[in-house]
Every structure is written in structure tokens, then in C-alpha cells.
Assembly symmetry: D2
Homo-oligomer: 332 residues x 4
């Protein structure tokens, strides 16, 4: 159950009162909302509106509360320095290399991104590599390059964080912080990211159900950060032709379950360069709010993920087709 | 390896010669092609062109031969009574109820299909039900209804066959015969369907790899039926919100691997009525050659698959949006 | 709901009466049992015992009826020419080559099987091969070899059937007929096998849930053949080191759900020769009623499945260890 | 490639020399071993033994080096305060409640564990819960209880850590630190755990391949902690009857690939109380080096994982049967 309170003080009063009644509460400070849990079927939720300071009672049966579509009613639009993500906005396009490798590389990637209409520049500075012997990223130096080049081209910036240290380094420099698929259920990381101001790009774990993804989002919101953008990036199945199986069912399914915006990642979702363009189109046609895609000035020379990175030509075509698809139907 | 021969007689001569050399051949009669197998790395394929009557030698490393994209070079267009499936044709739309239930039901389904621009009418007369206690279909009576109503509305007809008996009943009455997901590796059924003239709609098994699907297609072609239309209809994954996970990666992946047309089935692929429309759009945007979709005049009263069947309103919108998506990009 | 009737005549009377009441019945002749379906929550099952000729009423909520553990109460023992499968019997061991290749090969396989204490000899005469260009089996000639050698060594015989024709050929010659994983939901095949006297070895499809497997068993029983032996043979997962993932959870899970005996197949379940022995042990320790395993006098020269076939030495050890494991705990 | 050096000084010399040659090295201090990476096919590994201070050269093609079976040759035995894990030792049994709930509860759990012959006591103090609203563990207070009770009963102790803070709290108090399935690819956590002295129990992620698990182990070893115990705890598949699918193929497969000991977790691996006993037996029969199992004095009243927790009676039987199984065959 969610209680919307009139103000902070009312929140505090209610928390005390509920505690005495035996319930736990979590506060979601920005809009005076208390999430009450520990309820069972014996509690008559319809009576909570009589508590002083309660503006509205939202009974929610789903286990996720703040991420639930019911908690808000409409789809959330997240505004980041004037760009809108979600709702009926134009597709939000994040492009860039998998890893930041050098200033030249990130500069030319940004140029390609900007010239073709992307809104944000991605680049990894801390790489969660499966093997300990693979390139682990440029760290702070990479972040500074990304930040500088982002400003130069007026692009928002996106980078993945892995732990407390990388959060502290990235939060002041980079606009959007990304949680990778392997860390989607690293709940301590999520709790820390609840405390930052940056919007979070939360990638679905490759064996996470929709429900699991929403719980992870709930951690972020319940710990104070309501600006969560979900991202479908492929799940593990028996099929080996593709690296992952991009699950586009996730897009309309999640839009039924949550009010948060949803992007798709056709690069990791397929693992094959030739599939990025058609799956980007398909994602937008499924109703996704945008795309995150790996581009590189010379894809064959990328240090990481070369086999799934597209070059300038394909990206130009992708941007054109994705926009045309977006305009071809009415998004709900 | 595939050999293109000048004529039937040359085929025969070559078969004999190859047999003496220790190789097996399969003939693919309609266009004078012989598939040679039992080759190993010792055989110099480049020398086969000197055999008399050989027009062209196509060395193929993949295990599928006739279904392989390389065997043809371009994408195949299957023409059925003037309607084209595949290549750059408009999306081929098959619509209709899961099961044929009555003449009224199939008549009104056909009406909805036709009025909104569908090309073919589907309807199950033999139902491969998971439980032996569920409705098993109307059989021959259903086929006759489907055939009659199809002619009345100038719609092609599609029905699933299960065994020799249902093939014998359906082949003379119905235009396109469907192999269901559960029978995709029923190789005896595939061999029988190699002998009929009707085009085959071959659905991917729900745990079949792309390679498995192509082998199944190869069975059909190698046994004499080149008119194979593939269909992605969802695979089994850990996700339970949807009945299956429609794998749209399959569309561009299969287009790399084979020349055969590929449809998608957003009804079985999602198992939820609300997801049919967005996933139909997504399939076309991924490059699919068409859609097979379950419609019903009163979806809530369908005897089978009610929860994934759409009604007239949604279907109208689907047809409109699918066509708009198709026109929004250049199909390769 | 299952009704146990006093005799055939009572069955007939009840069927008529129930039909007038609007219910469908399926008879399971050998023991006077009628499965009633089409019931909904409005029907008071507790009143059916008043119908004349009804000995016992077994209300069953699960969708499978005759295969359900509740329908019988205890675990079924299937007796085949004096050998027992299921219940508290010793592990039932089926061994032999994947394909019958020659009389010498099947003879020496039988010798190895018999000398080490196996109860039955397997050998494929009709092979459902994924590719149409692979060895398709020796057919009738193979069946005759298998039958002859089985008699010579006093071993039961097991072979896979694919369609009506192979059933007709195999049923008079071979003791146990096998339904392969790819045909588990070939319901027409199951219906035909409901009519034969031979016990059926029913393999789990590689993406079939426990429930799906039980429905397939239900087809066999409902169509007249109560002697069904289930077999877990590996499912498809994301793991690629093994060919399949042998799901041993299936063994105790199925024993909760059904009264039918359950074997495991460590050869197909792993696809690797080195894993056959430990997984055979594990299957018996999980409570399986026996094992079906691929052996060959010279595994490296097997025409099919060489990489998962074990030789005489390993089989000897397997038999010894499997028996020791079986005796090390009390089977429920 | 792994180089075994004569001493620390030789290590240092070689690192410098290799750096000038363009190779990177990672040192694994405890036994003078250098892992060289960045090699390609041009490098003749057989010549490295001529470098001064090199005792032995171990060429390793697999991407994991230190975790690879080849790097050691035999199976590793980890000794913890006199108890042995791995090799030919008796099964190592860890038992205890999912969460530490109170001193009484952990005391009676320890009593049951000890009386039946377990070697270690598990208990969660930091719980990585899927939902933010579920019980998150007792923290330090719980650790202190676990430590105290462990000493009292002469049981080793095991607890899960989640981040730097929980490592700092747990490392001095608890014997074995556990990495949960959700954190298996939390590489920052693994790097931190490379620095502690405690042996690590590393659980397989529920969509991690065997290779992924070995890479995670490699992180731990390469960062300084060679005492890694692997644990199979079930993967995600399409089957819903069980919470996870315990993949026992993993046991003999991993024993081919790595020298590290492997436990199995039949509690999480099945998610059903009734399956814990048979799957524990099956795991040992597959060759596992031990078991970690959830027990509780009153399973039905456990705060977490009640549905998969066994009580004293079943645990007694489990210990007896597991030992009998272990003695019934020769472990390789």
C-alpha cells in the first residue's frame, strides 16, 4: 500500500503511528509518499485515508509498489537537462563505444552520434569483464574524457558504475549512471545509487524475470532515486547463433506493469553487428522509449565488443529508420 | 554440395556416376538440382563441374543445403494463386480463429479478415492438444467449412495437419498446410509433406534452434516440396509473464541463413492479447515477410486460446499499423 | 474425476447416463475405470458414488487423471515377462547401441549388456535424424536382428517407433516401444500407441515441463495402454558444455506427481562419454527406477552418438556402482 | 601460460623482462606463480623455460588459468582448521538456517548440525533480498551469534557477504565467506575477496555457464585468494514445478575443467523441501565434494526460505544416506 501524505511532517507522524500499529514504512521523500509493508489480508486498506495527513491511499497487491504502474497511473517522463525520456516523447537515443579507449576515439564517436541526432553519449570507463585478464577500462581518465567531449557536443553522458568508488568518481562528472546486467541484483550497489541525484539506466539481468527487474527498480526508488530508466538487453536461452536473445516481449509487458521508461539495447541483445539495425527498428515498433547502441568510428578496431558494434553508415540509417518507425504508429 | 544439372536426363546420369564413386544424392526435381552428401574434406568440389550435364557447382559447408541462402543467392518469393510471400512483397497476413467452431464463427472471422486486408484465413480442424481431454477439433467438417468460406471471400486457406490421414483430407481442400511447433521434428510427417503440392507453413519448435528449423525445412525440400514458409512463434524461457518468448532475433538471423520467407506469430509468441499488436508491429519492423494472427468475432468466447485472440477493433488497427511500419523502411 | 466401475456393463450404463447429463467420458478398459471430464466447480463430485455400478469415486483436481499419483495411491510396478520396473524393484537397466548397424555389432552389444546384468537391449532401427542427410536406420532388417539377438541372450528388447508403419513393424517383434523426445507431443503417434499391448518408454521432450510429460502419458493411458515408463533425458538450457542438461529434479518431482516408473538417460542427458557414469549414479541416488544407456563394443566407431557412448569397461563399472548406490538408501 | 618461479625476486625480474617484451603478468603470490596473458599464437611458449628464475612453464589454452585443472594436475584439497574439503575427503557438510533469526534459533540449528555430523554452520546475517521490503538480516549482531555458537559446537562458520562493509565485519569473525549467486559476477566484490585470508564459497549464478563460474573463481585466485570452493545451486529453466533446476551435470563437468572442490546446494537448487533429500544423495553420487543445506529446528516457522528448509528428522536421514552413498563408489 502507498500513502500519499500532505507533507514531510505528516509523513513523520504517520510513520510513528504505523510503527505502533506494527507496520513498517519506507519513505520516498521527493513527493511525500510512504510505502507501507508487512500488510496482510486482515488489514482493511480502505480505512487508512482517515489517518491525519493522508492525501491519498493507493492499495497495491503487486509486490513492487513504487515501480508499479498503478502507483502513478500514467507513464513517467524523465526530464534530463531538457531532454525527455518516456511517455510520448521521441525515441531517446544513446550511442557510443563500449569502452572509452582514447580521446580521439570518444571524440569521433561523439561526432557521429551528434551528427545523426543522438541525445546521449555512452562510454565505459569501468568494465565488468567476465575474465580478470581482459581490458578493465580507463577509469577516472576515461570519465573525464567522456564528460569533456559530452559538453563539447552538447550530448548527455552515460557510464556504467560498479561500486561505491566508481559512483563517487562518476556521479559529479557524468549525467546518467548505468547498472549493468551482471549487477542488476547487486542490492548494495542499488541502495547506494538510491542516494545520488543522477538518473539511473538499469539493465535487465540476463536471467532476470520482469518481476525481478521491477524489484531492482523498486530498490532504487525506495532508497530515494525515482529517476529510473529500464533497459532490455537480451536474456540467455538455448539459441547460440545470437549471443543473447533480445526479448522484445519485455517492452509492452513492462509497460503494463510499470510507469518507468524502457529502452532496448540491440547491440548486447543480439551480439551480431548485422542484427543491430533490424532489432533497433523492432524495439521502437514494440513501443520502446529509446535505444542504447554501440557505435565506433572503426568498428573492426574496437577493443571490446567489436563483433556487435556498428559504424557511422549503419548508424545513420538506423537513426533515420527508427524515427520513421516511431512516426508510423500511435504510441499508447 | 549442390549440382545444378542441365536436365532430368543429366541428373540421372550423374546420380549413377556418383553412386559408383561412393556418394549419395538427393534430387530436387523441379529445377534439376542434385544435393550430394557423404562428402568429406578429401573431395575436391571444384572438379565436379567437369562432369557432363553439370551446369553449376555450389559448394555448401553448412549442413543444410537446399534451405541455405547460398544455394539460391537471393530471397525466394513463393507465389500462391497470385499472392506473393517473401522478397520485397507486402506483408502476407494470415488471420483467423485458433479452432474452427461453427460455420457462423468462421464466416464472421473471414469477413473481418477480408475487410481489413488479410490475404489468408487460418482455422484449426485437427488440434494437437496438450491434454487428451481438451477439444480436438471438428475434423473434415471443419475443413469443408474453411474451404467454402475461403472461396466465398477470396481468401487463401491455412490449416494444421498432424498425420497422413489429416494430410489426405486437407491437401485437396486447403491451400497452405501448417506444421505445428510440436511436430517440427516429426520427420515422418515432414517426409509426407515433401510429396504434396501445397505450400507448407513450418512453425519453429519451442526449443528448436535456428539450425534445427532449417533442417526441418531441408526435410521438406529434399523430399520434393520447395514451397516452405518459416514461422517464428515463440520459444520457452524462464520468463512466466508471457506464455512464450517471441524471438524476433530469429527474423534477421534466419534471413542471413536461408532464402525462405519468414512469418511471425505474435499470438502464440506472447500468449497475451494485449501484446499481440505491439509485437506484430515489431515483427514487421524486424523484417518479417508477414504475420499469422488469431482473431475471433468475440475473443472472450473462443473455445481455445481465448486469452491470446484479438477482436475486430484491434485487428483493424494492427493491419493499419503493420502496413505503415512496412513502408517506413527499406527491406533488404 | 475418475470413477471405478464394477464391470464393463456398469461402465456402459454410466457412460450413457453421464452423456445425458452433459459430461464426456473416456474409458480405460483394463480395470473398469472411467475418466470424466468437462466437469466444473458446480459439480458435486461427492455425489457420484450413488450412481449404480460405481465402486469408487476419485476426485482429481490436476489436469492429468490416470497418470496422477492420486488415481492409484501407490507407485505402479510394470511387469514385462517376469522383469519388474518401478516400485521397490531393483534398477531396470536398458543398454545397447544408438543404432543397429550390423548383426555383429548388435550381438556383441547384447553380450556386454547381458554379462553385466542388464535387463533389456536397446537399438534404433528407425532414426529420427535432425538432418535429412544423416543415417536413417536399418528399418525392418534391424528390428529382426534386434529381436533375434534379444531372444538369444534372454534380454527384453526396446526400439523407437516414429509412425504407424514403424509401429506395425515393431510391435510384433520388439518388447518395449520407445517414443523419442522429438515425438513426445506427436499426439497422433501417442493415440496409436494407446492401442498396442507393448509397454511404452516415453521420453521427455527437451523443452517439455513435467506437466507436459504427464499429459503425454495421459494420452497413452486414456487411449488404452496403461504400461507407460517415463524417461528423463535432458532439457535444453543455455549451458553449452553439455549437449543437454540432465534434469534430475525431474525424478523425485515426477514421483510426487505420478505413479508411473521413471528411468533416466545419462547418455543423451549429457552428450559426453565422461559424464555418463557419474550421472547414472546420480540418477539412481535421486530415486530413478532404472537407466537407459548407450553402449557399443567400440564406442569410437559407432555410426551415431559416438561421443556419448560408453564401452564395455565403463559399463561394467557403471553396473557395479549403480547397484551399490541403489542398496545404500531406502527408496520410498 | 603460467610460469612457476623460484622465488619472489625471480618473479620481479621476470615481470620486468616480460613487460619490455610487451606482455602483462599477474602474480599469484603465495606460490611464486605468474600468469602471463596477452599471448597470441606467435609466441613459442616452450622457450620461456630458459628465462632465469623460471622453474616450470605450464602452457594453458583455456581462458581460465589458475582455476584450470591443467594448472595443478590433481584436485585441490582445501584444509580449514583441520577439516578437508575436496579430493578424496569425506563429504563436507554445511548446514544451518537461511537467516540468523535469534540466538535460540541458531543454537538449536547448530545442535542439530553437530549431532548429525555436519562440519560447518551456515547462517545469513546480510540477506540480498529480491524485494527491498523483505527481511534484510540481523547484520553484525547476527555474525556475533553465529561466531559464538560455532565455537561452542566446534563447527566452522559460513556467511554471505555483499560488499566491502560486510566483508570487514565478517572476515574476522566467520571462517568461510560466501558469494551468493546474484553476486557471482560482481567483480569488484570478487577483487576485494581476493585480499582476505578466509576461504570463499562461490555460488554459481543462476544463468552462469561453467566457464563464467570459472572466470569468477579466476578473479578470486588472481587477486590473491587460492582457497575457492565452488557451489552448484540451480539454474533458471522453463520448468516451474521447481524453483530452480539443480544442474548436477555441473559436478563432473567442473571436475574435468578445474581442480577446485565443488559442493551442491539441494535447498536452493530445488526450492522444495521434499526434493532436498533425494537431490542431496544424487549430488554426492555425481561426485560432489559436499553439500550445503538449509535446516531449521521448526522449518515451517523459518522467516525466509521456509518452503525449502528441512527439519531435524530429514537431516538425520540425509546425513546417513549421503555417507552411505559416498562409500558406495570410488571417487576419481
Amino acid at each position: 500500500m502507498i500513502l500519499e501524505c500532505v507533507d514531510k511532517d505528516a509523513q513523520y507522524q504517520i510513520a510513528n503511528r504505523l510503527k505502533r500499529m506494527g507496520f513498517d514504512t519506507t519513505f520516498h521523500g521527493t513527493n511525500g509518499v510512504a510505502v507501507i509493508y508487512g500488510l496482510d489480508d486482515l488489514v482493511r486498506e480502505d480505512l487508512f485515508h482517515v489517518l491525519p495527513g493522508v492525501k491519498r491511499v493507493i492499495p497495491i497487491k503487486e509486490k513492487q509498489k513504487l515501480a508499479s504502474r498503478k502507483s502513478v497511473g500514467r507513464r513517467t517522463v524523465i526530464e534530463i537537462q531538457g531532454r525527455k525520456v518516456g511517455g510520448n516523447s521521441d525515441p531517446f537515443i544513446i550511442a557510443g563505444p563500449c569502452s572509452i579507449e582514447s580521446e580521439e576515439q570518444i571524440f569521433s564517436s561523439a561526432k557521429i552520434a551528434k551528427e545523426n541526432g543522438a541525445h546521449a553519449l555512452r562510454g565505459g570507463a569501468f568494465k565488468p569483464r567476465t575474465s580478470p585478464y581482459e581490458f578493465q577500462g580507463m577509469g577516472l581518465k576515461g570519465l573525464e574524457m567522456l564528460s569533456k567531449v559530452g559538453k563539447e557536443f552538447d550530448l548527455l553522458t552515460v557510464t556504467e558504475v560498479l561500486d561505491l568508488e566508481s559512483i563517487h568518481l562518476a556521479a559529479p562528472l557524468i549525467d546518467i549512471l548505468q547498472v549493468g546486467a551482471r549487477n542488476m541484483q547487486n542490492f548494495e550497489l542499488l541502495k547506494q545509487l538510491g542516494k545520488v541525484k543522477n538518473p539511473i539506466l538499469l539493465k535487465r539481468g540476463f536471467a532476470a524475470s520482469y518481476q525481478d527487474l521491477l524489484y531492482a527498480a523498486e530498490y532504487l526508488i525506495a532508497h530515494g532515486n525515482p529517476n529510473v530508466i529500464l533497459c532490455e538487453r537480451g536474456i540467455r536461452t538455448f539459441e547460440t547463433y545470437t549471443r543473447n536473445t533480445l526479448d522484445l516481449n519485455a517492452v509492452p509487458s513492462l509497460q503494463e506493469l510499470t510507469h518507468l521508461p524502457i529502452l532496448i539495447d540491440p547491440s548486447h541483445g543480439t551480439g551480431r553487428r548485422s542484427l543491430v539495425l533490424p532489432m533497433a527498428r523492432a524495439g521502437i515498433a514494440a513501443g520502446a522509449d529509446g535505444i542504447i547502441v554501440e557505435i565506433h568510428p572503426n568498428p573492426d578496431q574496437a577493443l571490446t565488443d567489436a563483433q556487435q558494434t556498428i559504424g557511422p553508415e549503419v548508424f545513420r540509417r538506423l537513426m533515420k529508420e527508427v524515427l520513421a518507425i516511431h512516426q508510423a504508429f500511435i504510441k499508447e
